[in-house]
Symmetry: C2
Subunit: 558 residues, 2 copies
């Protein structure tokens, strides 16, 4: 059965009743969206924040992604269900899927197999409208910029130095680079512009880091949209008086969304910033709420641990004072063989040698988590049919040599029951010792050094280099924004900036091609290589196969 077929057979419980039964959430604090989705009121979220109780936070991250697939979301769901099965009150926190990629190659992003959150079609298609609201807030600011210039440009905005593009939740390469304002005087001034996908919007990052409505509005107001004609004075969203309307547009988007897993456990699915040019985690509000409601909260971070976990720990946890208790590192035998040099066509054949070589990738990630952050880690291997006993034994042995437990999980096929061993290992760790989590770098070290620490300690690079122009940019930021954390944007496929370098490349050079201050989100994006912020559709897009029948049943979503 396909994921959507499994999801459609789910026996869902009305979410309001479920939330009441599981966590005693008063129905009046839930806004239903249909019968199986609901938004939690911020008043309730706020009331929880005054309670002393705090659950344990478990982060699910992965090896460097490969075309073979790893299954982070699936593991997060499976582990959550397994914890609940063994009697541990757990809530999982996921990112909301982006609509655009559903029409491309990827299909949906609400887990897979028997480890899914439901209603799957709703979560993938429009969910509770959060991303649409983010798009509107973003594009309202964009429209106000060009409108301001059109009506006399009292702020002296330099139209060549506008950094604020437009966004759409669609894979649409034709909009990456465009010229706007054509057609004559009535249409404003001509300039180059472009569209990013909604998840790449700074508004998304802001929404996911904001702690309440006041913080949200404050952050929106301090967005820097570009510079004045003097080339150096920033123009803020607040100069355009946009932040009030933007925050009003986000009035519901800021509230966390409750749904359920196939096994009727509560999941909070809220926010979903890009994991390269943004920090790639679900909202702080969601994670904090889960920790107040449940004894354990399981959440995921985008891409591999070098990008997703690094940002989760150094951006999200830093800004919100969250402290994880343990990390689950997801891998597959297939993906590790791919890191060992095997092509996608041959991953189903046993190959211990390739596995051994590819193990270098997971080893680097294990090292990073345990040594750089001082966090306990459990490796979870998502089981595939073709994995051989020899292969899984080898993996277990190699992990053991590193002092790390390796568990074979089969939640994809069996749901929570397939991840019980993983759940027990995690409980063993988090219930028995307090993790002493360290950030990778201090706020106070210079920006250049922060980038260097990430590149050398996490990526295994020899050094970082940059053009004099980029050096200048970083120097300019140092003075006023030097305490901000770094958000690295580089390929997720490799520890290096070369996506074809698998395994654990060492002594490579990371070239910084650009830096960008995200003043509202509160981090500095450091770009190494070309980042795609507007995907395209493949030759045969999934959209061609998606269909709905006369009774409203959707097929082909993936």
């Amino acid at each position: 059965m396909s994921d959507i077929e499994i999801a459609q057979k789910a026996s869902m419980k009305p979410i309001i009743e479920l939330a009441k039964a599981k966590f005693n959430i008063p129905p009046e604090h839930l806004d239903p969206y249909g019968h199986y989705k609901a938004k939690l009121s911020l008043e309730y979220v706020d009331s929880l924040s005054h309670q002393n109780k705090e659950g344990k936070l478990i982060l699910v991250t992965a090896i460097s992604p490969t075309p073979a697939g790893e299954g982070k979301t699936t593991t997060t769901v499976g582990l959550g269900d397994a914890l609940n099965r063994i009697g541990k009150k757990t809530i999982i926190c996921l990112r909301e899927p982006s609509l655009g990629p559903c029409f491309g190659l990827k299909g949906g992003a609400a887990g897979g197999g028997y480890a899914q959150v439901v209603p799957m079609e709703d979560i993938n298609l429009h969910f509770t409208g959060d991303f649409h609201a983010i798009g509107v807030a973003h594009n309202l600011l964009a429209a106000m910029i060009d409108n301001h210039i059109h009506h006399g440009n009292a702020l002296n905005i330099d139209s060549r130095r506008i950094k604020w593009k437009r966004v759409l939740d669609m894979n649409d390469r034709a909009l990456r680079k465009i010229t706007i304002g054509q057609g004559g005087i009535g249409n404003g001034f001509l300039r180059e512009d472009g569209f990013d996908i909604v998840v790449a919007s700074e508004v998304m990052a802001i929404l996911c880091l904001a702690t309440n409505r006041a913080d949200l509005k404050e952050r929106l107001g301090r967005i820097i949209i570009g510079y004045k004609t003097d080339k150096i004075t920033p123009v803020y969203a607040s100069d355009l008086k946009a932040q009030g309307a933007m925050a009003a547009v986000l009035k519901d988007a800021i509230k966390p969304n409750l749904v359920q897993t196939l096994e009727n456990n509560i999941a909070i699915v809220h926010g979903g910033p890009f994991a390269n040019i943004a920090h790639g985690c679900n909202s702080v509000t969601a994670t904090k709420t889960a920790l107040k409601l449940a004894d354990y909260a399981v959440t995921e971070a985008g891409f591999g641990a070098d990008l997703g976990a690094e940002k989760f720990l150094n951006i999200k946890c830093r800004s919100s004072k969250l402290k994880p208790s343990a990390v689950v590192l997801v891998a597959t035998v297939r993906a590790l063989k791919y890191h060992g040099g095997i092509e996608t066509d041959h991953l189903n054949q046993e190959n211990l040698e390739a596995l051994e070589i590819g193990f270098s990738n997971i080893q680097r990630h294990i090292h990073n988590i345990t040594k750089n952050y001082n966090l306990p880690v459990v490796v979870s291997i998502n089981h595939f049919t073709h994995d051989t006993d020899a292969e899984t034994s080898l993996l277990k042995k190699k992990c053991e040599e590193l002092g790390v437990k390796c568990v074979i999980s089969s939640h994809w096929a069996k749901g929570g029951a397939g991840a019980e061993e993983l759940a027990r290992e995690i409980i063993e760790i988090v219930d028995n010792k307090e993790a002493s989590f360290d950030y990778l770098y201090d706020d106070d070290i210079p920006l250049w050094n922060k980038i260097e620490v990430i590149a050398t300690k996490i990526y295994g690079a020899k050094e970082i280099v940059a053009s004099s122009k980029v050096h200048e940019e970083i120097d300019k930021l140092q003075n006023k924004y030097g305490k901000l954390p770094i958000c690295m944007a580089k390929t997720q496929m490799s520890f290096s900036t070369d996506p074809t370098l698998k395994g654990a490349p060492s002594n490579h050079i990371i070239e910084i091609s650009d830096v960008k201050l995200e003043n509202g989100a509160g981090f500095i994006v450091v770009i190494a290589g070309n980042m795609m912020t507007m995907p395209g559709l493949p030759k045969v897009p999934t959209a061609e196969k998606i269909d709905i029948d006369d009774d409203g049943l959707i097929t082909g979503l993936f």
Copy 2:
């Protein structure tokens, strides 16, 4: 108090309970969106369609719009509340407001004063996400077009003949005319394109005319996106296999939305196509559902009766077999003085002479409705403080001379109580005689003659003219699409194509500048003059004043 302040003081009832109490709608057929909005299942809509019962349909339309404002939506809400007050089970059917204009000059569009639908902020800001879904469906097709060309253009689409633009629910003049596909090979082919506002999308018109999911998908598939390189072969959305995914994206948008008036009467607010390049009425599904549930349904059509009512009667009613029983023609003393040549600054001063001159406008509309469609009409004057007794008496007298009742209504200030006289007049008419509604033209007369009939009989024009190119276009359409109705796109400010010609211009010439087949919607748009399909923001947009406080209370929406 401002409209939003009045709306925020409303004592709303939970919509699911209200729907059950008023019309015995089973809760399981309602999808809640928060506690005060809900979507009706299509299964329930379908089950109603098999019942024999049919309420009476009342159309609210207006004189030619002026900057002085008329108040069609307010009258629709007030009349609905008044009918319910006098014991007549009534549902009102409105269009959903477009988000973009909320940030511009206009503010919200959910009625005004004490004649509003609520929750006002929700209805104006994102409501149940219908317009976002329409935008995604539209832009998915656009992305699939450029993607198809990028990947080899197997369909031989002529990129210069693509008619399918992109859409955004934003007032953003800079996007009216753009160049896309810049930046190199990876971004596709360069071509000129542009964005319309979402309400101008053919998908919006389709959604509002579709009778069920199958019809929706069929209509989406037959959208013509442009022509092949042979210049004449149409390319359909179905050629790109887009209609299934588009219909899936619209899975919830097709369901009618239930909200309530300030007086706790049910309103169905669903769909909102532009009233110039589209037909400007709420969805057929909404109107039909209201007629099955209630004894009376009151609905509105966009702009003045020459555009809105004409399209309601000749497009919406024709395609759906709806038969209105009576028409309410809304006017104000101020607006009629404006039609009599008075500038906006002086409309508060009594001026019987100007009123007498301006009466020509309402007289033409009355004539059109009674003589061209054979429908009974009641004039409703929205009362303003500065209206004098002499002025209202003059209006009543002049209407009486035409055999038409004229009622002074004060629902804006008093809610339903202020429209009771209007309600009684309407009941008097619709309960006592069966209207024998006629279309303005038959399906079978040639397209050119259809346009001519509208121009001469409704607009009072002497003739229609067109360039040979436009003549050719019409001739080309005649063969295959000759039975389709006409959707006139011309200025709403005048019976002529010159917006400055107030009152009732006669013997003018209507020049057809363009024709456009909307094959999915099932009408031919005939354009006379420049139509704005993407508004701009004013120098000081309303967005600058919109705000939300720390508790989520919105201000400044208008």
